[in-house]
């Protein structure tokens, strides 16, 4: 029935599935759409769209798809071709027509007759004016206005309810600014990061310790119930993000990674650096000049049980890593490689995530150097790469 619409939604990359489509059909069959276009719009939206980010795209597709069907733009033939159930039009007419107009329909000889007349008029009109549909629409008292579900036409029913105002609901595109919010695909990242979980038992003892109870009972000779605290994810992660410069190309995917790790790990600390970690790191990129934390302090603050994850494209001039004073931003007393080595000496479990595609790595000298410094623990920022990384960090 609405197959065309369904495929258009798919084309617009709204994740609709057959199951949801069947749900919609079932709902329509049960009469939930009530043969009013707005109700159908709301119903289709509730059944097919499952995320507010897609609402705007849905509105656009809906508008584009049903416009052609509902407008009488190309006259009667279009209407006959479009598969709008006749009841829809009938209901629409009932909704928007005043009693006087309904009487007029009766006077014209009922619905069938009315359609005939409409067709005739449309043909006449084609001959007379160019903008045929306008004539029908603006003639507010004409019963035909009711079909013309365009802004001009619906005006007949405007006083009924504010939900029936002239601009169609889906054309208002109220969900526009929800469309480009972050958190796309973070679920996949989180699932990949789950492997990093390290379970530990801390807190109140509220779970039955079965092996403990058995061995204790056997020892005591009476039933000695043992309790233990529940398991929690106790993994500690320190993340360093490269920010600015060449990383601008990867902002989106890094934001996703960041929002995923932030909710996944309870013990998460993060700092920013530019290109290569030197003697200072910072927490707030807007105050990077004033509020730097000494890298030594970072090393001393976080114990060796923290897992160090560095996110950066490692795409820079090789001098920035290997020579003192190589930094593009300031004069560094000691080379980046020295600082990297200090970090790696302290944090036994470390990995570098590189948003740059893996098959490009061999063409960048600096990536090669970093790869060597990390002793091969550099992984691409893909789900498969994250998987490899969590495996390596757990070793």
């Amino acid at each position: 029935m609405f197959t065309g619409f369904f495929y258009k939604l798919k084309e617009a990359r709204i994740p609709v599935s057959l199951r949801e489509y069947l749900t919609l059909l079932e709902a329509v069959e049960k009469g939930l759409a009530n043969y009013a276009v707005e109700d159908f719009y709301y119903l289709a939206r509730a059944a097919l769209v499952k995320d507010e980010r897609h609402l705007d795209r849905f509105d656009q597709v809906f508008g584009a798809h049903f416009k052609g069907m509902i407008d009488l733009a190309d006259g009667m033939d279009e209407v006959a071709k479009a598969d709008i159930p006749e009841e829809w039009l009938r209901k629409l007419a009932e909704k928007f027509l005043t009693d006087a107009e309904k009487a007029e329909i009766e006077a014209l000889g009922g619905w069938e007759k009315l359609m005939e007349t409409l067709k005739q008029r449309l043909e006449e009109q084609k001959g007379r004016h160019q903008g045929g549909n306008k004539w029908i629409g603006t003639a507010g008292t004409s019963p035909f206005g009711a079909y013309g579900y365009n802004p001009e036409g619906v005006r007949i029913g405007q006083d009924k309810s504010r939900h029936r105002r002239a601009v169609k609901v889906w054309d208002k595109r109220e969900f526009k600014n929800l469309d480009d919010s972050v958190e796309i695909g973070t679920r996949n990242i989180k699932v990949a990061l789950r492997r990093l979980r390290k379970w530990a038992r801390t807190g109140a003892a509220d779970e039955l310790d079965l092996p403990g109870t058995i061995s204790s009972t056997a020892r005591q000779g009476w039933l000695d119930v043992q309790m233990r605290p529940e398991r929690h994810n106790a993994v500690k992660v320190l993340m360093l993000f490269d920010i600015g410069g060449s990383m601008d190309d990867h902002i989106k995917v890094c934001e996703e990674l960041f929002s995923a790790v932030k909710t996944e790990f309870k013990h998460l600390e993060y700092y920013y650096f530019h290109n290569c970690p030197y003697e200072g790191l910072w927490k707030d990129n807007a105050r990077r000049r004033t509020d730097q934390v000494s890298t030594w302090d970072v090393i001393r603050t976080y114990g060796a049980d923290y897992k160090l994850v560095i996110v950066g494209d490692a795409t820079m001039s090789p001098y920035e890593i290997t020579y003192p004073g190589g930094s593009v931003e300031h004069w560094n007393q000691e080379a980046g490689a020295v600082w990297m080595q200090r970090l790696l000496d302290h944090f036994e479990h470390a990995a570098w995530i590189n948003p740059q595609a893996e098959n490009w790595w061999q063409y960048h000298g600096s990536i090669q150097i970093m790869h060597k410094l990390m002793e091969g623990r550099m992984y691409p920022l893909t789900l498969e790469g994250l998987d490899r990384m969590t495996g390596a960090l757990n070793r």
Binding site: L32, L43, A46, K50, D51, F175, L178, R187, K190
Partner: protein, 281 residues
């Protein structure tokens, strides 16, 4: 059986369509929206307007799907066996029913609210797929299948803290509660404060929407905060003029504590209001 909103709850047309679709097709309805737009209240009002019982299952970060079905209390059984209690021979005595079981069992098809599903572990919704789809589950301990005779109306709310799995989403209807426009808001206010002065309301609403337009607020005031604020205004019996005071000292609206929930926002607002006044002069 149709949901039309109640005298305490203004439901927009799209919300009614979504709720009625979920009721008729007996699928769960997933409701998202800004905090304070009435997601949880919706379930209460549906229950009230349809004259049904409401069963609330509030999800926490430690909640597991199994807890909604049932729990086997092995500890009390062990203890009872020590005391020689006769109950110990029937394992069914130690099965503690969860909220889903309670809802399935209830003949009157109650409203089941699964509140803030995004708080739980990321796999939580997946663990409930079959149970919500077929409205049945199997109890291993007693080897019985619990099946809903009359399927409950399931309302699920989410605050978007975690993304929900596709397989789960496909089985639900979805509604995003948009922040109400000024017109709907006036209706909502009228429902809650029927005899409040008209002028006070329109002044308050203007101020409220101006406040929401201020960029950079950490937490924008929402419907529930507006209602709290109005409650205070009424209690203090402030005249509408007080809301329009031009004095720099009262640049921030009176009783703003109900609307702005952290000091940075209050501070930001004070500064902006001060600047606006100066320009206006």
């Amino acid at each position: 059986m149709k949901f039309q909103g109640t005298e305490n709850y203004v439901a927009t047309e799209d919300l009614m369509v979504a709720v009625n679709a979920a009721i008729t097709l007996q699928r769960p309805l997933l409701v998202k929206g800004e905090p304070g737009t009435g997601k949880t209240v919706l379930a209460e009002e549906i229950a009230k307007s349809l004259g049904k019982k409401l069963i609330t299952w509030s999800i926490k970060s430690t909640t597991r799907a199994q807890q909604g079905l049932y729990e086997y209390d092995a500890v009390s059984r062990l203890r009872d066996s020590q005391l020689g209690d006769a109950r110990v021979h029937d394992i069914a005595n130690y099965i503690v029913k969860g909220k889903l079981w309670e809802a399935f069992e209830d003949e009157s098809a109650p409203v089941l609210l699964i509140d803030e599903i995004d708080k739980a572990d990321i796999e939580f919704p997946n663990d409930l797929l079959q149970e919500l789809d077929r409205m049945e589950f199997f109890v291993y301990e007693t080897q019985e299948t619990i099946r809903a005779t009359n399927r409950p109306i399931v309302i699920i709310t989410s605050n978007n803290e975690k993304e929900l799995p596709d397989a789960f989403l496909r089985r639900c209807f979805f509604h995003y509660i948009r922040f109400p426009d000024a017109e709907t808001m006036a209706e909502i206010v009228a429902v809650h404060f029927p005899d409040i002065q008209k002028r006070l309301v329109s002044e308050a609403l203007n101020l409220f929407y101006d406040m929401r337009d201020v960029g950079g607020l950490k937490k924008k005031p929402s419907t529930s905060e507006l209602l709290d604020w109005l409650k205070l205004l009424v209690a203090e019996d402030l005249p509408p003029e007080a809301l329009r005071a031009k004095d720099a000292k009262t640049a921030v609206p009176p009783l703003h504590g109900a609307l702005l929930k952290n000091e940075q926002d209050v501070h930001l607002f004070e500064r902006l209001a001060f600047m606006a006044r100066r320009e206006g002069r």
